[in-house]
Assembly symmetry: D2
Homo-oligomer: 344 residues x 4
């Protein structure tokens, strides 16, 4: 039988993978994370060969990737920090073998298989597996996540945008006739560990730029879960000259005049009892520094004098609440632990 305290981690050689390794090595309910490596890195026997800075801090065995080996190890859960292509293949195999999966790729995030294919230019995900997939945003879907066999861990940008907009959308406060603008900025670790022209120090440092305007793959996640219709929304992404963190500035015209305390109350009610979202008091805005290296999503806002124009600031760590931390939060819910276990 599968042991819930035993987990497998696949492909954790990038920045989110390192963060995941750190969290799992410290998690009080996880006994034995084993790391399964793909391709070139697959010769390592222990984690500090890959991440020497973990010496003296934590250690775990590494093995070449094999679904059989994962199944035989009795792992109750597999975390996939793999490219979309690899997840497309591995997820169905693992789910069919009875292993719970938290997949950090985009492969199983969308309700319709063709949404993934269209935006990622890749084959459609397995239909049977997709049917079981739950979008892993705990603040919205904790019930579904609790019983899930397959959780598609959300993208970093969508997490920040959806958590900032959804309470207003559900309260039906957004003026549908005006547009909603989501101006998002991210640190460089979100672009991955592979050296590219765009991540060369000299091209990022003392620089700032928009990218992927109208074509970013995270767009359909925002559309599906923010509560705002896609044709009413503009979502853009920018690259900040810093390592980690996403700050999204969200622009909303309200359909009625509101007071700041009413706005604050809407957010507070929506996130009551959710330990990983922190609402800032009216008049104070969160900064990136407040959330980096945490699993918090901080939300603040400013309302103009007229009471109709609202700016919401939502920020998080793209490797924490935007990736590895959220994966652990999902794991906690799947196994009946407290949502924030090992994350605070």
């Amino acid at each position: 039988m599968n042991d819930p305290s035993r987990v497998a981690v696949v492909g954790a050689t990038g920045y989110a993978g390192f963060e995941l390794a750190r969290l799992l090595l410290r998690h009080p309910k996880i006994e034995k994370p084993t790391f399964y490596l793909r391709g070139d890195g697959a010769t390592a026997h222990c984690l500090t060969e890959i991440f020497p800075q973990l010496r003296g801090w934590g250690e775990a065995p590494c093995r070449p990737l094999s679904v059989d080996a994962i199944v035989k190890s009795g792992a109750g859960t597999a975390f996939l920090a793999t490219p979309h292509e690899a997840s497309l293949e591995l997820v169905p195999e693992l789910v069919n073998a009875g292993v719970c999966v938290v997949d950090l790729s985009g492969a199983f995030r969308f309700r319709e298989a063709q949404t993934f294919s269209r935006w990622y230019k890749l084959p459609a995900p397995d239909a049977a597996a997709l049917k079981q997939a739950v979008y892993g945003l705990p603040e919205l879907y904790s019930n579904d996540i609790s019983g899930a066999k397959l959780v598609a861990n959300p993208g970093c940008y969508p997490t920040s945008v959806i958590l900032g907009l959804r309470p207003l959308a559900e309260a039906n406060w957004i003026d549908a006739g005006r547009g909603v603008v989501c101006d998002c900025k991210s640190g460089v670790s979100g672009a991955g560990k592979e050296p590219k022209r765009d991540t060369h120090f000299v091209e990022v440092n003392e620089n700032f730029r928009a990218y992927g305007v109208f074509s970013h793959r995270h767009t359909p996640e925002v559309t599906e879960h923010s509560g705002v219709s896609g044709d009413r929304l503009i979502f853009t992404t920018h690259l900040l000259p810093l390592e980690r963190g996403i700050l999204s500035t969200l622009y909303v015209w309200l359909n009625e005049v509101r007071r700041a305390d009413e706005v604050e109350a809407v957010f507070r009610r929506f996130y009551a009892g959710r330990p990983m979202v922190r609402i800032w008091p009216a008049g104070k805005l969160p900064e990136l520094q407040h959330v980096t290296r945490t699993n918090f999503c901080d939300i603040g806002f400013a309302l103009d004098e007229s009471g109709e124009r609202l700016v919401v600031v939502s920020c998080l760590d793209n490797l924490g609440k935007g990736a590895a931390g959220q994966a652990v939060q999902n794991f906690n819910l799947m196994h009946g632990h407290s949502e924030s276990l090992g994350l605070i």
Copy 2:
């Protein structure tokens, strides 16, 4: 008589002042810049006492500030890199004495004296001087600037926003029913040289934050000159962890479906013959790096598939086109020189 090649510079001890000094020392039509210092720095006799990195590069005399001395020196133009309070006082005195003024402060930027008072919480500017003031945005008002005695040099944020929106507003392409969003990001040199909590390295580095939302003093400049009504527009500012540069992401819903080549043409026509604005071809967006340490404002855009949602990116160097460079550009126009003299 005043000598047009002789200029006085007042208060050039900050970051914009240094940039101005560098430009004036190299300007081919300026013979003798003299620097007039206020307060504590007023003991320096030459510029390299204030800016040791100028040794071997350029030198100029420094004197304690005195309007009389400026007038008697025969200076044709005075550049004021002074606080708003000082400009309120100095501008009328200099203008009345027949010295042309380029004022980098906010004191004479607004059509109505009370606009300044309300946003800056300071006394109203002298009415007679204000009447003569021209808003020094050369791409919009070069004719007025040519004959001006007093040019109010624009703020850095407004320059980037106005140059990005005005062509669309004049073409009457903006959907008035939807809102226009101006999400602006600036480097730290814009916050001045005074050490403050907010400019401490540790508070800026690896951090990003919005500030002055709905209360930034540059708001009324945007409203007066962008061509977009203030109640239709949201203007926000953010602090980037880098020294210099402003990048504004401008969100516009068009009132008719357009093609990208039409959008590009609108911008190209509007800025035909203006050497300091560079329009990027459709599909390519300028980056901060392209404009830092220049006097260019670079403008690019992305149009969505529907042809209705337009994102404009406008960027410049806040100390260059956003301050000192623009001041020299204004000086050039006032004295009949080529607009870009000493700036390219």
Copy 3:
């Protein structure tokens, strides 16, 4: 009676103070840290008023500083994250009242009272208290620390230099006729939270400079504990454009030809059983990134072909092993806990 699980923290409003707060709130053997505030901050009632980013993560009561209150609270240990002047006064009072003290200031670090006075231009520390003071470098003086009532927590630079040189000095390998050079580089958080010209973002970013050459206050600590005579050693400090971390490059001429494996063995023997020092294998050098946000000191080296010229690289986090982490490590030893408790 004093309760060892109850601690008082004085003056923790700076960067090292914040780090200390984070560590103590998570320490498994500390039940109730209470924060005593000096001066202006003394109105806060709880820690998140001072550090809003701690909300949802940890909370602790704040009170205005009073030695009486600390004593009456039954606190077994007081951590002083106070200026030298304040420590001069508080340390004797607390020690006399039977409270164990870990002092992060420089006041009680030197064997001779006048060493402190000369380098810090301040009154001499209380003689009776100084007699009880132990220099809190656990890898050298763990026995003394175990029974100490007063531990003077070392400076950040000296910790990195001493740990890199002492094994070679004790092995008697250093050529006394040649000089030893300690070229040290630190991040900006070491300069404190007070906004100053030197810590303004624009003065640090994209800049690098040496400072305090031949006059840095940490010099006498290096001289007293590195095992190298002061007249044989040059110690310099530089400011890196980053938040945290110190990397010291140490240059030693050996008095005999050695092989790399012999050098490595000297370091490994010296630090056998010390969990917080990590020796890198010959040919690999540690980087700042490996130690930031940890309590490790990483040491690596390169030996030239001749076997006589040795470069040692020693690095640590100035707020961790260089300040707050080391203070907790000292606390652990004083109370018979494992040295690394709450630090890994």
Copy 4:
């Protein structure tokens, strides 16, 4: 006949190449720089295709590389911003064809051909060409450079170290029995434009590390020209998290007690009449910020109380005085122009 105002630039697609392009486009004695491209970039017809940020600022024709074309164009001088391998081949061809060459690679920097081969693991440079090569450090060898047909432009690190040590070596002030330590730190642009693991933003930002200890290719240049014997000297290099600039901290034990004014006088005498080296007054040290984006090398020093231990700080811009600026300075000397023409 060759036209001295006509220059060819080969391979200027990297960071030093861009800097060179900017300088040559503004140089008052250069009429027509033509850019010859190698490999993939060779399809560009004009420079702004490669560097879009030059639009409106400067323009120049680009052609595929051909020695014949360079010769036929009548170019008096060719600047080679090419890899060592390419320079090995191109330099003899161009020199034999009567074109003066400034080579920015390492291929012709060493007196002995085998020094190059040993340190660069490449074939030896052409013997005839090497015989004509002059080491292009103008402050030391301006006479030789004036008549040279082939100038080997020095490395960036060696320029800073040699300029800091040579005056002391020639004055015979250095204690030969003690060692000289050169601890050098460079920005990332020195590592080239090619994306590599080591230049990925996340691996550099908030990080600092030593590299190439005892194996850096710039070592033999330092040994040949600093005036200090190689076995008395340790030269190390470190990577700073910033774009440009090198700061070298040089440690010297003097063989006699000296006063600070004597030290300053040695430097001032040595560099009298050299416009590109700036000596700082005793007690003040130059910072990287003072020299970035200039062609200056700034030198300052601190002498300890005993008058025997001397720390020299020498800094420059690795793309300016360390590469492209120095190449133009050499060009000026070769053609009888003022040394600093187009550089200040």
